[in-house]
Symmetry: C3
Subunit: 203 residues, 3 copies
Protein backbone atom coordinates (compact mmCIF):
# COMPACT_ATOMS: atom_id res chain seq x y z
CA UNK A 1 0.00 0.00 0.00
CA UNK A 2 2.80 2.51 0.75
CA UNK A 3 3.33 4.76 -2.25
CA UNK A 4 -0.31 4.66 -3.31
CA UNK A 5 -2.20 7.66 -1.96
CA UNK A 6 -5.69 6.27 -2.45
CA UNK A 7 -8.87 7.88 -1.14
CA UNK A 8 -9.04 5.33 1.66
CA UNK A 9 -5.51 6.11 2.78
CA UNK A 10 -6.04 9.86 2.77
CA UNK A 11 -9.22 9.53 4.83
CA UNK A 12 -7.40 7.22 7.21
CA UNK A 13 -4.48 9.59 7.64
CA UNK A 14 -6.63 12.68 8.18
CA UNK A 15 -8.74 10.72 10.69
CA UNK A 16 -5.56 9.56 12.40
CA UNK A 17 -4.39 13.16 12.70
CA UNK A 18 -7.72 14.35 14.13
CA UNK A 19 -7.86 11.55 16.69
CA UNK A 20 -4.22 12.11 17.65
CA UNK A 21 -4.93 15.77 18.42
CA UNK A 22 -8.08 14.77 20.30
CA UNK A 23 -6.43 12.02 22.34
CA UNK A 24 -3.49 14.21 23.26
CA UNK A 25 -5.72 17.12 24.30
CA UNK A 26 -7.86 14.72 26.33
CA UNK A 27 -4.75 13.49 28.12
CA UNK A 28 -3.72 17.07 28.91
CA UNK A 29 -7.16 17.95 30.31
CA UNK A 30 -8.38 14.77 31.95
CA UNK A 31 -5.30 13.35 33.57
CA UNK A 32 -2.20 15.18 34.66
CA UNK A 33 0.37 13.53 32.44
CA UNK A 34 3.73 14.41 30.97
CA UNK A 35 4.81 14.57 27.31
CA UNK A 36 5.12 10.80 26.99
CA UNK A 37 1.67 10.25 28.49
CA UNK A 38 0.18 12.79 26.11
CA UNK A 39 1.99 11.22 23.16
CA UNK A 40 0.90 7.74 24.23
CA UNK A 41 -2.79 8.57 24.60
CA UNK A 42 -2.72 10.58 21.37
CA UNK A 43 -1.20 7.74 19.38
CA UNK A 44 -3.44 5.06 20.95
CA UNK A 45 -6.56 7.10 20.21
CA UNK A 46 -5.34 7.66 16.67
CA UNK A 47 -4.45 4.08 15.76
CA UNK A 48 -6.82 2.12 18.06
CA UNK A 49 -9.78 2.04 15.71
CA UNK A 50 -7.72 0.93 12.72
CA UNK A 51 -6.03 -1.81 14.75
CA UNK A 52 -9.39 -3.20 15.91
CA UNK A 53 -10.58 -3.12 12.27
CA UNK A 54 -7.52 -4.92 10.93
CA UNK A 55 -7.50 -7.52 13.71
CA UNK A 56 -11.16 -8.36 13.05
CA UNK A 57 -10.55 -8.47 9.29
CA UNK A 58 -7.54 -10.73 9.83
CA UNK A 59 -5.47 -8.17 7.90
CA UNK A 60 -2.39 -8.65 10.11
CA UNK A 61 -0.05 -7.05 10.90
CA UNK A 62 -2.32 -3.98 10.98
CA UNK A 63 -1.76 -1.24 8.39
CA UNK A 64 -0.78 1.04 11.27
CA UNK A 65 2.34 -1.03 11.81
CA UNK A 66 3.20 -1.86 8.24
CA UNK A 67 2.83 1.66 6.88
CA UNK A 68 5.02 4.15 8.77
CA UNK A 69 2.87 7.12 7.70
CA UNK A 70 0.16 6.27 10.24
CA UNK A 71 2.53 6.49 13.17
CA UNK A 72 4.27 9.57 11.82
CA UNK A 73 0.93 11.37 11.44
CA UNK A 74 -0.29 10.19 14.85
CA UNK A 75 2.91 11.27 16.59
CA UNK A 76 2.90 14.61 14.79
CA UNK A 77 -0.68 15.27 15.83
CA UNK A 78 0.02 14.43 19.47
CA UNK A 79 3.15 16.59 19.52
CA UNK A 80 1.30 19.56 18.00
CA UNK A 81 -1.42 19.18 20.62
CA UNK A 82 1.20 19.14 23.37
CA UNK A 83 3.06 22.17 22.01
CA UNK A 84 0.01 24.30 21.27
CA UNK A 85 -2.46 23.09 23.90
CA UNK A 86 -3.02 26.61 25.24
CA UNK A 87 -3.79 28.02 21.82
CA UNK A 88 -6.04 25.03 21.02
CA UNK A 89 -7.82 25.35 24.37
CA UNK A 90 -9.17 28.76 23.42
CA UNK A 91 -11.13 27.07 20.63
CA UNK A 92 -13.49 25.56 23.17
CA UNK A 93 -15.36 23.22 20.86
CA UNK A 94 -12.26 21.89 19.16
CA UNK A 95 -11.86 18.67 21.12
CA UNK A 96 -15.35 17.55 20.13
CA UNK A 97 -14.90 18.66 16.54
CA UNK A 98 -11.71 16.62 16.33
CA UNK A 99 -13.42 13.58 17.77
CA UNK A 100 -16.34 13.95 15.36
CA UNK A 101 -13.92 14.30 12.44
CA UNK A 102 -12.01 11.16 13.42
CA UNK A 103 -15.27 9.28 13.97
CA UNK A 104 -16.58 10.25 10.52
CA UNK A 105 -13.42 9.58 8.56
CA UNK A 106 -12.71 6.25 10.23
CA UNK A 107 -16.28 5.04 9.82
CA UNK A 108 -15.93 5.64 6.08
CA UNK A 109 -12.43 4.22 5.69
CA UNK A 110 -13.31 1.23 7.86
CA UNK A 111 -16.36 0.36 5.80
CA UNK A 112 -14.38 0.90 2.60
CA UNK A 113 -11.55 -1.38 3.68
CA UNK A 114 -14.01 -4.07 4.76
CA UNK A 115 -15.65 -3.97 1.31
CA UNK A 116 -12.24 -4.04 -0.36
CA UNK A 117 -11.38 -7.23 1.54
CA UNK A 118 -14.60 -8.87 0.40
CA UNK A 119 -16.81 -8.57 3.48
CA UNK A 120 -20.58 -8.48 3.02
CA UNK A 121 -22.60 -5.25 3.37
CA UNK A 122 -23.77 -5.80 6.98
CA UNK A 123 -20.23 -6.67 8.05
CA UNK A 124 -18.83 -3.62 6.31
CA UNK A 125 -21.32 -1.32 8.05
CA UNK A 126 -20.46 -2.76 11.45
CA UNK A 127 -16.73 -2.77 10.92
CA UNK A 128 -16.90 0.80 9.72
CA UNK A 129 -18.77 1.89 12.83
CA UNK A 130 -16.37 -0.10 15.04
CA UNK A 131 -13.39 1.55 13.37
CA UNK A 132 -14.96 4.94 14.05
CA UNK A 133 -15.80 4.40 17.70
CA UNK A 134 -12.85 2.12 18.56
CA UNK A 135 -10.07 4.61 19.22
CA UNK A 136 -12.20 6.90 21.35
CA UNK A 137 -13.53 3.97 23.35
CA UNK A 138 -10.01 2.72 24.18
CA UNK A 139 -9.08 6.31 25.10
CA UNK A 140 -12.02 6.60 27.49
CA UNK A 141 -11.35 3.20 29.10
CA UNK A 142 -7.70 4.14 29.71
CA UNK A 143 -8.61 7.40 31.45
CA UNK A 144 -11.51 5.72 33.27
CA UNK A 145 -14.41 7.47 31.60
CA UNK A 146 -17.65 5.82 30.50
CA UNK A 147 -17.14 5.70 26.71
CA UNK A 148 -19.11 8.15 24.57
CA UNK A 149 -20.51 5.25 22.59
CA UNK A 150 -22.46 4.16 25.68
CA UNK A 151 -23.42 7.64 26.86
CA UNK A 152 -25.13 8.91 23.75
CA UNK A 153 -26.86 7.36 20.81
CA UNK A 154 -25.60 10.10 18.54
CA UNK A 155 -22.15 8.59 18.53
CA UNK A 156 -22.76 5.10 17.16
CA UNK A 157 -25.66 6.18 14.93
CA UNK A 158 -23.76 8.71 12.75
CA UNK A 159 -20.91 6.20 12.43
CA UNK A 160 -23.32 3.48 11.30
CA UNK A 161 -24.94 5.98 8.95
CA UNK A 162 -21.67 6.91 7.27
CA UNK A 163 -20.64 3.29 6.92
CA UNK A 164 -24.04 2.42 5.48
CA UNK A 165 -23.74 5.24 2.93
CA UNK A 166 -20.38 3.86 1.84
CA UNK A 167 -21.86 0.40 1.36
CA UNK A 168 -24.89 1.73 -0.53
CA UNK A 169 -22.90 3.92 -2.92
CA UNK A 170 -20.56 1.02 -3.56
CA UNK A 171 -23.51 -1.30 -4.23
CA UNK A 172 -25.31 0.98 -6.64
CA UNK A 173 -22.10 1.32 -8.57
CA UNK A 174 -21.42 4.98 -7.87
CA UNK A 175 -17.82 3.90 -7.55
CA UNK A 176 -16.02 0.57 -7.71
CA UNK A 177 -14.72 0.70 -4.19
CA UNK A 178 -14.71 4.20 -2.86
CA UNK A 179 -14.45 7.45 -4.77
CA UNK A 180 -13.62 10.75 -3.15
CA UNK A 181 -17.06 12.44 -3.58
CA UNK A 182 -19.00 9.49 -2.15
CA UNK A 183 -16.54 9.11 0.70
CA UNK A 184 -16.61 12.78 1.61
CA UNK A 185 -20.40 12.89 1.46
CA UNK A 186 -20.67 9.92 3.81
CA UNK A 187 -18.15 11.40 6.22
CA UNK A 188 -19.87 14.79 6.03
CA UNK A 189 -23.26 13.31 6.95
CA UNK A 190 -21.76 11.56 9.97
CA UNK A 191 -19.94 14.71 11.04
CA UNK A 192 -23.05 16.86 10.69
CA UNK A 193 -25.27 14.49 12.66
CA UNK A 194 -22.68 14.18 15.45
CA UNK A 195 -22.16 17.95 15.69
CA UNK A 196 -25.91 18.65 15.68
CA UNK A 197 -26.31 16.12 18.49
CA UNK A 198 -23.60 17.87 20.50
CA UNK A 199 -24.96 21.35 19.75
CA UNK A 200 -28.52 20.62 20.76
CA UNK A 201 -27.55 18.16 23.49
CA UNK A 202 -29.72 15.52 21.88
CA UNK A 203 -29.29 12.12 23.37
CA UNK B 1 -21.02 -22.44 8.70
CA UNK B 2 -24.28 -20.58 7.88
CA UNK B 3 -27.03 -23.04 7.07
CA UNK B 4 -25.67 -25.74 9.36
CA UNK B 5 -27.43 -25.63 12.73
CA UNK B 6 -24.86 -27.67 14.64
CA UNK B 7 -24.81 -28.14 18.40
CA UNK B 8 -21.98 -25.64 18.68
CA UNK B 9 -23.92 -23.00 16.78
CA UNK B 10 -27.10 -23.47 18.81
CA UNK B 11 -25.17 -23.17 22.08
CA UNK B 12 -23.43 -20.09 20.74
CA UNK B 13 -26.67 -18.43 19.69
CA UNK B 14 -28.50 -19.16 22.95
CA UNK B 15 -25.48 -17.88 24.88
CA UNK B 16 -25.44 -14.80 22.67
CA UNK B 17 -29.09 -14.15 23.45
CA UNK B 18 -28.57 -14.57 27.19
CA UNK B 19 -25.58 -12.23 27.27
CA UNK B 20 -27.39 -9.67 25.10
CA UNK B 21 -30.27 -9.54 27.61
CA UNK B 22 -27.78 -9.36 30.48
CA UNK B 23 -25.63 -6.64 28.93
CA UNK B 24 -28.65 -4.53 28.00
CA UNK B 25 -30.19 -4.85 31.47
CA UNK B 26 -26.83 -3.97 33.01
CA UNK B 27 -26.67 -0.84 30.88
CA UNK B 28 -30.18 0.16 32.00
CA UNK B 29 -29.36 -0.32 35.69
CA UNK B 30 -25.73 0.68 36.00
CA UNK B 31 -25.41 3.67 33.73
CA UNK B 32 -28.12 6.03 32.61
CA UNK B 33 -28.05 5.41 28.88
CA UNK B 34 -30.45 5.66 25.98
CA UNK B 35 -31.64 2.98 23.55
CA UNK B 36 -28.43 3.05 21.53
CA UNK B 37 -26.28 2.74 24.66
CA UNK B 38 -28.38 -0.21 25.83
CA UNK B 39 -28.18 -1.82 22.41
CA UNK B 40 -24.42 -1.23 22.23
CA UNK B 41 -23.62 -2.73 25.63
CA UNK B 42 -26.00 -5.62 24.98
CA UNK B 43 -24.38 -6.48 21.66
CA UNK B 44 -20.82 -6.04 22.96
CA UNK B 45 -21.51 -8.29 25.94
CA UNK B 46 -23.09 -10.83 23.62
CA UNK B 47 -20.39 -11.01 20.98
CA UNK B 48 -17.29 -10.03 23.02
CA UNK B 49 -16.41 -13.52 24.22
CA UNK B 50 -16.74 -15.08 20.79
CA UNK B 51 -14.62 -12.35 19.21
CA UNK B 52 -11.82 -12.89 21.76
CA UNK B 53 -12.02 -16.63 21.07
CA UNK B 54 -11.86 -16.25 17.30
CA UNK B 55 -9.06 -13.67 17.42
CA UNK B 56 -6.94 -15.96 19.62
CA UNK B 57 -7.70 -18.95 17.39
CA UNK B 58 -6.79 -16.92 14.32
CA UNK B 59 -10.26 -17.75 12.92
CA UNK B 60 -10.69 -14.33 11.31
CA UNK B 61 -12.95 -12.58 10.54
CA UNK B 62 -14.79 -13.76 13.67
CA UNK B 63 -17.90 -15.90 13.25
CA UNK B 64 -19.88 -13.04 14.77
CA UNK B 65 -19.19 -10.95 11.70
CA UNK B 66 -19.36 -13.62 9.04
CA UNK B 67 -22.62 -15.19 10.22
CA UNK B 68 -25.43 -12.60 10.45
CA UNK B 69 -27.40 -14.73 12.93
CA UNK B 70 -25.13 -13.74 15.81
CA UNK B 71 -25.80 -10.05 15.40
CA UNK B 72 -29.49 -10.59 14.75
CA UNK B 73 -29.84 -12.61 17.96
CA UNK B 74 -27.71 -10.14 19.94
CA UNK B 75 -29.69 -7.13 18.72
CA UNK B 76 -33.00 -8.90 19.35
CA UNK B 77 -31.96 -9.74 22.90
CA UNK B 78 -30.89 -6.19 23.64
CA UNK B 79 -34.10 -4.74 22.15
CA UNK B 80 -36.27 -7.13 24.18
CA UNK B 81 -34.38 -6.14 27.33
CA UNK B 82 -34.95 -2.47 26.52
CA UNK B 83 -38.64 -2.92 25.77
CA UNK B 84 -39.46 -5.14 28.72
CA UNK B 85 -36.95 -3.96 31.31
CA UNK B 86 -39.67 -3.25 33.90
CA UNK B 87 -41.19 -6.71 33.56
CA UNK B 88 -37.74 -8.30 33.65
CA UNK B 89 -36.75 -6.22 36.68
CA UNK B 90 -39.44 -7.90 38.79
CA UNK B 91 -37.59 -11.18 38.34
CA UNK B 92 -34.85 -9.97 40.64
CA UNK B 93 -32.37 -12.76 40.06
CA UNK B 94 -32.72 -12.75 36.29
CA UNK B 95 -29.66 -10.65 35.47
CA UNK B 96 -27.41 -13.15 37.26
CA UNK B 97 -29.18 -16.13 35.76
CA UNK B 98 -28.66 -14.68 32.29
CA UNK B 99 -25.00 -14.07 32.98
CA UNK B 100 -24.55 -17.62 34.30
CA UNK B 101 -26.34 -19.01 31.25
CA UNK B 102 -24.11 -17.09 28.85
CA UNK B 103 -21.02 -18.07 30.82
CA UNK B 104 -21.93 -21.76 30.70
CA UNK B 105 -22.93 -21.93 27.06
CA UNK B 106 -19.93 -19.94 25.82
CA UNK B 107 -17.47 -21.96 27.91
CA UNK B 108 -18.78 -25.10 26.21
CA UNK B 109 -18.97 -23.69 22.68
CA UNK B 110 -15.56 -22.04 23.07
CA UNK B 111 -13.89 -25.28 24.13
CA UNK B 112 -15.72 -27.16 21.37
CA UNK B 113 -14.61 -24.72 18.68
CA UNK B 114 -11.02 -24.82 19.93
CA UNK B 115 -11.01 -28.64 19.67
CA UNK B 116 -12.60 -28.45 16.24
CA UNK B 117 -9.76 -26.20 15.06
CA UNK B 118 -7.16 -28.66 16.35
CA UNK B 119 -6.06 -27.06 19.60
CA UNK B 120 -4.69 -29.26 22.39
CA UNK B 121 -6.74 -30.10 25.49
CA UNK B 122 -5.18 -27.47 27.80
CA UNK B 123 -5.62 -24.79 25.14
CA UNK B 124 -9.23 -25.79 24.59
CA UNK B 125 -10.01 -25.59 28.30
CA UNK B 126 -8.50 -22.13 28.56
CA UNK B 127 -10.07 -20.80 25.40
CA UNK B 128 -13.43 -22.13 26.52
CA UNK B 129 -13.14 -20.36 29.86
CA UNK B 130 -11.95 -17.16 28.14
CA UNK B 131 -14.90 -17.28 25.77
CA UNK B 132 -17.22 -17.62 28.76
CA UNK B 133 -15.78 -14.79 30.83
CA UNK B 134 -14.77 -12.49 27.95
CA UNK B 135 -18.03 -10.71 27.15
CA UNK B 136 -18.88 -9.99 30.78
CA UNK B 137 -15.37 -8.72 31.44
CA UNK B 138 -15.53 -6.24 28.54
CA UNK B 139 -18.99 -5.18 29.78
CA UNK B 140 -17.65 -4.52 33.29
CA UNK B 141 -14.61 -2.61 32.03
CA UNK B 142 -16.82 -0.36 29.87
CA UNK B 143 -19.09 0.55 32.78
CA UNK B 144 -16.09 0.86 35.13
CA UNK B 145 -16.80 -2.10 37.40
CA UNK B 146 -14.19 -4.55 38.72
CA UNK B 147 -14.92 -7.62 36.54
CA UNK B 148 -16.70 -10.57 38.15
CA UNK B 149 -13.84 -12.82 37.10
CA UNK B 150 -11.57 -10.98 39.56
CA UNK B 151 -14.14 -10.59 42.32
CA UNK B 152 -15.12 -14.21 42.81
CA UNK B 153 -13.50 -17.55 42.17
CA UNK B 154 -16.86 -19.07 41.33
CA UNK B 155 -16.88 -17.34 37.97
CA UNK B 156 -13.72 -18.65 36.32
CA UNK B 157 -13.90 -22.06 38.03
CA UNK B 158 -17.29 -23.16 36.66
CA UNK B 159 -16.23 -21.95 33.20
CA UNK B 160 -13.00 -23.95 33.40
CA UNK B 161 -14.99 -26.93 34.67
CA UNK B 162 -17.42 -26.87 31.77
CA UNK B 163 -14.63 -26.48 29.23
CA UNK B 164 -12.71 -29.35 30.88
CA UNK B 165 -15.80 -31.59 30.70
CA UNK B 166 -16.09 -30.84 27.00
CA UNK B 167 -12.45 -31.80 26.45
CA UNK B 168 -12.74 -34.99 28.53
CA UNK B 169 -15.91 -36.22 26.83
CA UNK B 170 -14.35 -35.53 23.47
CA UNK B 171 -11.17 -37.40 24.48
CA UNK B 172 -12.90 -40.51 25.77
CA UNK B 173 -14.82 -40.68 22.52
CA UNK B 174 -18.26 -39.92 23.88
CA UNK B 175 -18.65 -37.85 20.74
CA UNK B 176 -16.40 -36.91 17.87
CA UNK B 177 -16.43 -33.23 18.57
CA UNK B 178 -19.42 -32.23 20.62
CA UNK B 179 -22.76 -33.96 20.93
CA UNK B 180 -25.81 -32.33 22.43
CA UNK B 181 -26.04 -34.44 25.63
CA UNK B 182 -22.37 -33.98 26.54
CA UNK B 183 -22.54 -30.27 25.75
CA UNK B 184 -25.68 -29.71 27.79
CA UNK B 185 -24.27 -31.66 30.74
CA UNK B 186 -21.09 -29.58 30.73
CA UNK B 187 -23.06 -26.34 30.49
CA UNK B 188 -25.44 -27.52 33.20
CA UNK B 189 -22.59 -28.26 35.62
CA UNK B 190 -21.12 -24.79 35.05
CA UNK B 191 -24.50 -23.16 35.49
CA UNK B 192 -25.27 -25.07 38.70
CA UNK B 193 -21.90 -24.27 40.29
CA UNK B 194 -22.20 -20.59 39.38
CA UNK B 195 -25.76 -20.32 40.73
CA UNK B 196 -24.89 -22.17 43.95
CA UNK B 197 -22.00 -19.76 44.44
CA UNK B 198 -24.32 -16.80 44.00
CA UNK B 199 -27.04 -18.29 46.22
CA UNK B 200 -24.77 -19.05 49.14
CA UNK B 201 -22.55 -16.05 48.54
CA UNK B 202 -19.52 -18.31 48.41
CA UNK B 203 -16.41 -16.55 47.28
CA UNK C 1 8.98 -23.87 19.33
CA UNK C 2 8.49 -26.24 22.33
CA UNK C 3 11.69 -28.15 23.04
CA UNK C 4 13.93 -25.34 21.83
CA UNK C 5 15.09 -23.22 24.74
CA UNK C 6 16.22 -20.20 22.72
CA UNK C 7 17.25 -16.86 24.17
CA UNK C 8 13.91 -15.38 23.18
CA UNK C 9 11.99 -18.10 24.97
CA UNK C 10 14.02 -17.82 28.16
CA UNK C 11 13.53 -14.05 28.26
CA UNK C 12 9.84 -14.55 27.64
CA UNK C 13 9.47 -17.11 30.41
CA UNK C 14 11.39 -15.10 32.99
CA UNK C 15 9.37 -12.02 32.04
CA UNK C 16 6.19 -14.08 32.34
CA UNK C 17 7.21 -15.20 35.82
CA UNK C 18 8.01 -11.63 36.95
CA UNK C 19 4.72 -10.25 35.64
CA UNK C 20 2.77 -13.15 37.19
CA UNK C 21 4.23 -12.36 40.62
CA UNK C 22 3.55 -8.66 40.06
CA UNK C 23 -0.02 -9.12 38.86
CA UNK C 24 -0.88 -11.48 41.70
CA UNK C 25 0.62 -9.17 44.33
CA UNK C 26 -1.26 -6.25 42.79
CA UNK C 27 -4.50 -8.21 43.06
CA UNK C 28 -3.80 -8.96 46.73
CA UNK C 29 -3.07 -5.32 47.56
CA UNK C 30 -5.38 -3.36 45.31
CA UNK C 31 -8.57 -5.34 45.32
CA UNK C 32 -9.83 -7.74 47.93
CA UNK C 33 -9.92 -10.94 45.92
CA UNK C 34 -9.69 -14.65 46.59
CA UNK C 35 -7.20 -17.20 45.25
CA UNK C 36 -8.87 -17.42 41.86
CA UNK C 37 -8.94 -13.65 41.46
CA UNK C 38 -5.25 -13.48 42.37
CA UNK C 39 -4.44 -16.30 39.97
CA UNK C 40 -6.50 -14.67 37.22
CA UNK C 41 -4.91 -11.24 37.49
CA UNK C 42 -1.46 -12.79 37.79
CA UNK C 43 -1.90 -14.88 34.65
CA UNK C 44 -3.51 -12.05 32.65
CA UNK C 45 -0.69 -9.66 33.57
CA UNK C 46 1.85 -12.33 32.66
CA UNK C 47 0.47 -13.33 29.27
CA UNK C 48 -1.30 -10.11 28.21
CA UNK C 49 1.69 -8.46 26.56
CA UNK C 50 2.64 -11.54 24.57
CA UNK C 51 -0.92 -12.05 23.39
CA UNK C 52 -1.15 -8.45 22.14
CA UNK C 53 2.20 -8.94 20.35
CA UNK C 54 1.15 -12.19 18.68
CA UNK C 55 -2.27 -10.87 17.68
CA UNK C 56 -0.70 -7.81 16.04
CA UNK C 57 1.93 -9.97 14.32
CA UNK C 58 -0.77 -12.33 13.10
CA UNK C 59 1.12 -15.18 14.81
CA UNK C 60 -2.04 -16.97 15.89
CA UNK C 61 -2.84 -18.82 18.06
CA UNK C 62 -0.51 -16.90 20.40
CA UNK C 63 2.59 -18.65 21.72
CA UNK C 64 1.06 -18.41 25.18
CA UNK C 65 -1.60 -20.88 24.16
CA UNK C 66 0.41 -23.17 21.95
CA UNK C 67 3.34 -23.62 24.34
CA UNK C 68 2.17 -24.90 27.75
CA UNK C 69 5.28 -23.57 29.50
CA UNK C 70 3.97 -19.99 29.46
CA UNK C 71 0.86 -20.85 31.37
CA UNK C 72 2.71 -23.17 33.75
CA UNK C 73 5.21 -20.43 34.59
CA UNK C 74 2.46 -17.80 34.89
CA UNK C 75 0.33 -19.97 37.17
CA UNK C 76 3.35 -20.93 39.28
CA UNK C 77 4.30 -17.27 39.73
CA UNK C 78 0.78 -16.29 40.75
CA UNK C 79 0.52 -19.20 43.21
CA UNK C 80 3.88 -18.35 44.78
CA UNK C 81 2.76 -14.74 45.18
CA UNK C 82 -0.45 -15.91 46.83
CA UNK C 83 1.31 -18.33 49.20
CA UNK C 84 4.13 -16.02 50.21
CA UNK C 85 2.49 -12.61 49.93
CA UNK C 86 3.38 -11.70 53.54
CA UNK C 87 7.04 -12.56 53.07
CA UNK C 88 7.11 -10.73 49.73
CA UNK C 89 5.37 -7.70 51.21
CA UNK C 90 8.31 -7.08 53.55
CA UNK C 91 10.44 -6.43 50.48
CA UNK C 92 8.65 -3.16 49.90
CA UNK C 93 10.07 -2.32 46.51
CA UNK C 94 9.57 -5.78 45.07
CA UNK C 95 6.33 -5.13 43.22
CA UNK C 96 7.96 -2.35 41.20
CA UNK C 97 11.11 -4.37 40.61
CA UNK C 98 9.00 -7.22 39.27
CA UNK C 99 7.09 -4.89 36.98
CA UNK C 100 10.34 -3.33 35.71
CA UNK C 101 11.80 -6.79 35.10
CA UNK C 102 8.76 -7.92 33.13
CA UNK C 103 8.73 -4.66 31.17
CA UNK C 104 12.40 -5.01 30.22
CA UNK C 105 12.34 -8.68 29.30
CA UNK C 106 9.15 -8.42 27.25
CA UNK C 107 10.33 -5.30 25.40
CA UNK C 108 13.39 -7.28 24.30
CA UNK C 109 11.60 -10.53 23.46
CA UNK C 110 8.82 -8.62 21.69
CA UNK C 111 11.24 -6.73 19.47
CA UNK C 112 13.20 -9.94 18.83
CA UNK C 113 10.12 -11.87 17.81
CA UNK C 114 8.97 -9.06 15.53
CA UNK C 115 12.36 -9.09 13.76
CA UNK C 116 12.27 -12.88 13.51
CA UNK C 117 8.90 -12.66 11.76
CA UNK C 118 10.28 -10.16 9.27
CA UNK C 119 8.94 -6.86 10.56
CA UNK C 120 10.84 -3.65 9.78
CA UNK C 121 12.93 -1.86 12.42
CA UNK C 122 10.34 0.77 13.38
CA UNK C 123 7.64 -1.90 13.70
CA UNK C 124 9.91 -4.08 15.82
CA UNK C 125 10.66 -1.20 18.20
CA UNK C 126 6.99 -0.42 18.63
CA UNK C 127 5.88 -4.01 19.00
CA UNK C 128 8.62 -4.57 21.55
CA UNK C 129 7.47 -1.59 23.60
CA UNK C 130 3.83 -2.68 23.27
CA UNK C 131 4.72 -6.20 24.46
CA UNK C 132 6.46 -4.65 27.45
CA UNK C 133 3.70 -2.30 28.51
CA UNK C 134 0.74 -4.46 27.42
CA UNK C 135 0.29 -6.80 30.35
CA UNK C 136 0.60 -4.08 32.97
CA UNK C 137 -1.84 -1.88 31.09
CA UNK C 138 -4.50 -4.62 30.97
CA UNK C 139 -3.85 -5.24 34.68
CA UNK C 140 -4.41 -1.57 35.51
CA UNK C 141 -7.57 -1.31 33.40
CA UNK C 142 -9.06 -4.37 35.11
CA UNK C 143 -8.48 -2.97 38.60
CA UNK C 144 -9.55 0.52 37.46
CA UNK C 145 -6.24 2.32 37.77
CA UNK C 146 -4.85 4.85 35.28
CA UNK C 147 -2.17 2.74 33.53
CA UNK C 148 1.48 3.44 34.39
CA UNK C 149 2.17 4.01 30.70
CA UNK C 150 0.03 7.17 30.84
CA UNK C 151 1.17 8.34 34.27
CA UNK C 152 4.91 8.46 33.68
CA UNK C 153 7.13 8.85 30.68
CA UNK C 154 9.72 6.59 32.26
CA UNK C 155 7.61 3.56 31.51
CA UNK C 156 7.25 3.70 27.73
CA UNK C 157 10.67 5.27 27.17
CA UNK C 158 12.81 2.51 28.71
CA UNK C 159 10.71 -0.08 26.85
CA UNK C 160 11.25 1.76 23.55
CA UNK C 161 14.94 2.07 24.39
CA UNK C 162 15.38 -1.67 25.00
CA UNK C 163 13.48 -2.54 21.83
CA UNK C 164 15.58 -0.05 19.84
CA UNK C 165 18.80 -1.57 21.20
CA UNK C 166 17.61 -5.00 20.07
CA UNK C 167 16.93 -3.69 16.58
CA UNK C 168 20.27 -1.85 16.38
CA UNK C 169 22.37 -4.80 17.56
CA UNK C 170 20.53 -7.03 15.10
CA UNK C 171 21.12 -4.51 12.28
CA UNK C 172 24.83 -4.08 12.88
CA UNK C 173 25.20 -7.83 12.84
CA UNK C 174 26.15 -8.33 16.48
CA UNK C 175 23.92 -11.39 16.27
CA UNK C 176 21.72 -12.90 13.59
CA UNK C 177 18.53 -12.49 15.50
CA UNK C 178 19.16 -12.14 19.19
CA UNK C 179 22.11 -13.40 21.20
CA UNK C 180 22.10 -13.61 24.97
CA UNK C 181 24.61 -10.80 25.67
CA UNK C 182 22.87 -8.28 23.42
CA UNK C 183 19.48 -9.23 24.79
CA UNK C 184 20.56 -8.98 28.41
CA UNK C 185 22.27 -5.62 27.81
CA UNK C 186 19.12 -4.20 26.22
CA UNK C 187 16.94 -5.52 29.04
CA UNK C 188 19.42 -4.23 31.62
CA UNK C 189 19.35 -0.71 30.18
CA UNK C 190 15.53 -0.66 30.26
CA UNK C 191 15.49 -2.00 33.82
CA UNK C 192 18.07 0.53 35.03
CA UNK C 193 16.26 3.51 33.48
CA UNK C 194 12.92 2.40 34.89
CA UNK C 195 14.33 1.83 38.39
CA UNK C 196 16.18 5.17 38.37
CA UNK C 197 12.94 6.87 37.38
CA UNK C 198 11.11 5.22 40.27
CA UNK C 199 13.92 5.93 42.75
CA UNK C 200 14.23 9.63 41.98
CA UNK C 201 10.51 10.06 41.23
CA UNK C 202 11.33 11.45 37.83
CA UNK C 203 8.35 11.89 35.64
Amino acid sequence: MPGDLSVLLVLDLVGTFAFALNGALTAIRAVDVDLVGVLTLGVITAVGGGIIRDVLLGALPPATFVDWRYLAVAAAGALIAFGFSRQLRRLRISIHVLDAAGLSLFAVSGAGKALELGMGPAQAVLLGALTGVGGGTIRDVLIRRVPDVLRTGLYAIPALLAAALVVITSRVGVDQVLGAPAALTAAGVCFAVRMLGLRFRLN
